[in-house]
Every structure is written in C-alpha cells, then in structure tokens.
C-alpha cells in the first residue's frame, strides 16, 4: 500500500509539472513574439483574442491538423524516432529540477550530472533527424548542430564544476541550500566567470540566436527539421522551448539562488521572507527567458568558424581558469 501511495504521488507530481511546463511553452512562444515585436516597434500577434492572447491555441490547432508529409527516400524508422528523442530528452531533464523547497520529482544525488547526461543524449535527436530526412539542407544542419552541441557541452560542464566545488554536492536542492548559506546569497557573484560561460553555452546548447546556425534560414532553409511538418515539427518546437525553460531553471538553481533570496535582502526587508519560494524561482526563470528574447532581438547570427572559435578558444579556457581559481580558493582560503 505504501508503495502504491508513493507511485501515486510521483504520478501526480509528473502530471502537474507536465501540465505547467506545456502551458509555459505555449505562452513562451506568445511572449517571444510580443516582446520581439515591441523591440522592433510593432505590436506582435493581436488578432486572436484580446491582445492576441489565444494565439498559442490557434497555432497548436493549426500544427496538429496539418498534413504529415514524409519524404519518399527518408529512413522511416529513424525519421519517426528523431522528434521523440528530442522531446523525451527535454522532458526527462525536468524530473530532477526542484521548483521550490521539497518539490522535486526525483531527488537524486547526481542531479547536475543527470542534466549533463540528458543534454548529451539530445544531440542524437537532431543528428538523426538531419540524416534520416535524406535532404542536403537537413543533413548539413544536423552535422553543424552535432559539432556545435558537443563543443559547447564541454564548456557548459566545466562552468558548472565551479558551482559543484562551491556547494560540495551534485544535488540541485543542496546547491540551492548552499547558496542560501553563502554570505552573498547567489553563486552568480563569486562565480561570475562560470555564470558568463554557462549563459553563452546555454544559448548555444538550445540552438538559440545568436548561435542558431543549425537552422540558419538564409543558408539551410530550416536546418535539421526542414523535411518535418505537422505535429512532428511541433515536437521539435516543443523540445526546443522545454530545453530553454530547463536551461533557465538550471541558471536560476545553480547561479541565482533558486527558490531563495539572499539573506541580506530578507534582513533589510523582513516582509520579503513571506513571499513563497516558487514566486522567486519563477521570477528568476522568467527573467532568464526574457534575456533569451532580448538577445535574439539584439544580436546577429555568428559565422560558423566564429562559433567554433568562441567555444574552444574563449569559453573553454575561461571555464578552466574559473575551475582552477575556485578550487584554489576553496582549498587554501
């Protein structure tokens, strides 16, 4: 009976997280279009519902009723599997994120490593999608993406090593608690180098501007998902936005203090401690998502050799320096 209860609680948690994340994905696309519209001095979606608020619903209906076209010479089994790999890997990453104190689906010791495992598996969805479509544009997009993702994965993993060293744990809840104990309250201050590397690598890992080369429309039509249509295309879209939300959540948890705020702030303004933790967490995630949109509206796309040079010659050395300094400070100071 106890076992059944545990299973039921886990199932309820999964359903709640799943629903909330799907809702967020739908409205992340809406706000992306709105914010970028405002930054370009236009309104963005306005037609469906008040201020275009029902636009995501209309988009979803359109995508699910579109004809599902499969190229004649595609490798069918892999063509079917690729979008599933993208969505499953993005969704699995949600299982180790603590949204507020005590609310996490799987509270495992190696939470941060698990996230790296998941990001390393999501590469397959993209490469396989590019290869199995049997189209030049898809293929080149898939290859670019494979090279980009495995290059930036290293920088991202190394930038998180500083956080692991400071917290002394790989469990995400413990990392947040360690930040709360720290006098500065957030690892973004002592780990500013690591935070910078993480932010750039997170943009590259989710294929977002200015690193959206795998889907550079002026060169590759739409990159690895050129041949996908209808709900299979929607799966890639969903995977990308869930990955963005996950990255924002990881940034909030590992560098911005997760569901806590620095102690000096609660000491200065005691009423802040009555605000529930989930609010702080969401504020941080939304701020990071806004940053994603802001960068997309601001920066042009990098050239491919520039992308590789940034990853290997700038971010990786910076991350190494950060690890060395953090280890030195932790050991001798």
């Amino acid at each position: 009976m106890d076992f059944v209860m545990t299973l039921a609680i886990i199932a309820i948690k999964i359903t709640v997280v799943f629903g909330i994340v799907l809702f967020h994905v739908a409205y992340a696309t809406y706000f992306e279009r709105k914010i970028i519209g405002r930054m370009q001095a236009r309104y963005g979606p306005m037609e469906v519902g008040p201020h275009g608020l029902l636009q995501p619903v209309a988009d979803m209906i359109k995508l699910f009723f579109k004809e599902d076209i499969i190229p004649a010479s595609a490798d069918r089994p892999l063509f079917y599997i690729a979008p599933a790999i993208v969505v499953i890997s993005a969704m699995t990453a949600l299982s180790v994120l603590p949204f507020f104190d005590g609310f996490v689906i799987a509270d495992i010791n190696i939470g941060l490593l698990f996230l790296l495992v998941i990001t390393s598996l999501s590469v397959y969805g993209i490469v396989i999608a590019g290869w199995s479509s049997n189209s030049k544009y898809s293929f080149l997009g898939g290859l670019r993406s494979a090279a980009q993702l495995i290059s930036y994965e290293i920088a991202m993993g190394l930038s998180l090593v500083g956080v692991m060293l400071m917290a002394g744990s790989l469990n995400l809840s413990d990392i947040v608690r360690a930040q709360h104990q720290h006098p500065l309250g957030m690892f973004a201050f002592p780990q500013f180098l690591g935070f910078f590397v993480f932010v750039v690598a997170a943009f590259a890992e989710t294929n977002r501007a200015p690193f959206d080369l795998p889907e550079a429309e002026s060169e590759l039509v739409a990159g690895y998902f050129t041949e996908y249509s209808g709900f299979r295309f929607a799966f890639f879209f969903l995977g990308e936005y869930v990955a963005m939300l996950t990255m924002s959540a990881v940034a909030a948890l590992c560098f911005l203090g997760g569901w806590t705020i620095p102690m000096f702030m609660t000491n200065a303004m005691p009423f802040l401690s009555y605000v529930p933790g989930i609010i702080w967490f969401l504020v941080k995630v939304y701020a990071f998502m806004f940053f994603y949109y802001w960068i997309r509206a601001t920066l042009p796309r990098y050239r491919y050799d520039q992308l590789m040079a940034i990853g290997w010659k700038v971010l990786m050395p910076l991350a190494f320096v950060n690890v060395l300094i953090t280890a030195f400070v932790k050991r001798w100071l």
Binding site: N109, L113, T119, S120, W131, L170
Partner: protein, 170 residues
C-alpha cells in the same frame, strides 16, 4: 528475486543489443542500437549502486565517443557495408579461435577468488554518496595510476594535433 530479474533483463538486453549493433548493414542503425546498448550498461551500473559511473558512462560513451563515431560515418557517407575479402575465410578457423577463447575464459574462472570485503560496503557508499567515495579513493589511494592514465591519454592528443598541423599548408 527482483534483483535477479533486473540483472537478467540487463544481461539479456546487453547481449541482444550488441548482436544487433554489429550485424546491421546500415552503419547509422548499428550506432543507434549501440546507443541503446550504452544506456543499458549505464542501467546495470545504477543497479550496482554506482550512480556516478552510470552517469559518466552515458556522458562519455554515448554523449561524446558515439557522437564522434556517428560524425565520421555521416561525413564518409557510407550507406552500405564495406565489402572486401575476408582475412580468414574458413569457418573451422573461426570456430577454433572462438573455442580456444571460451576455454581460456573457463580456465581463468576456475582460479578466480572472490576478494575480501574492504571498508567500502554498500551501506557506507550509500551514506557517503558514490561520487564522494569514488573521488576519495581515486585521489588518495590511486593517484599514481590516475596520473599515468592522464599521460597515456595526453600522448595521442599531441599526436592528433601534430597530424592536423602537418597537413596544413603554411
């Protein structure tokens, strides 16, 4: 009962998946079966309470090495299996080698002795977390082998850089 069932599942799947991976005509399909194989090996490590090794198994083998394999296969664009003359064509020869290997393994297993239990019991590892225990052992008792391993891996890296630079026109 349950642990045996789990082990049986992983052992059977690992055997089947490795056979599938090496018998596919299409190399990309072979690599995808191998990915599933690596995930199952990771599962086996988890089952043995070695969560850190399980994560590293997937990050390193599935996330880095296999992606590079895939990259090479895609860049060479080998859609069909390489067809050449077999080095050993007689089935008797192959059978003999396989039988000799099996005999060798059986003989070695005869003399296998189960090592005495150290201080690293499952309870101890669970209370300290596997990552911490592994780090403590690796960087205290086995620093020298660790350094040698680092050197062994460093040498081919230099070789690769030298080869890459040599091919470039100044």
């Amino acid at each position: 009962m349950l642990p045996k069932l789990f082990f049986g599942y992983f052992a059977a799947m690992i055997t089947i998946l490795s056979l599938l991976a090496i018998t596919r005509k299409n190399l990309v399909h072979g690599i995808m079966w191998m990915l599933l194989l690596f995930v199952h090996i990771g599962g086996l490590y988890l089952f043995l309470n070695a969560e850190f090794i399980a994560a590293i198994q997937i990050i390193v083998y599935a996330g880095a090495i296999l992606v590079l394999f895939l990259f090479v296969v895609l860049l060479l664009n080998v859609k069909e299996e390489f067809k050449g003359r077999r080095f050993i064509s007689s089935w008797q020869g192959r059978g003999f080698v396989a039988a000799a290997l099996l005999l060798g393994i059986m003989l070695v297993l005869q003399y296998a002795v189960i090592a005495p239990h150290g201080k690293y019991s499952i309870e101890y590892i669970q209370s300290e977390t596997h990552t911490k225990v592994l780090g403590t052992v690796l960087f205290n008792e086995y620093v020298f082998p660790f350094m040698i391993l680092a050197l062994v891996l460093f040498v081919p890296m230099i070789a690769a850089v030298v080869l890459a630079v040599k091919g470039r026109k100044a």
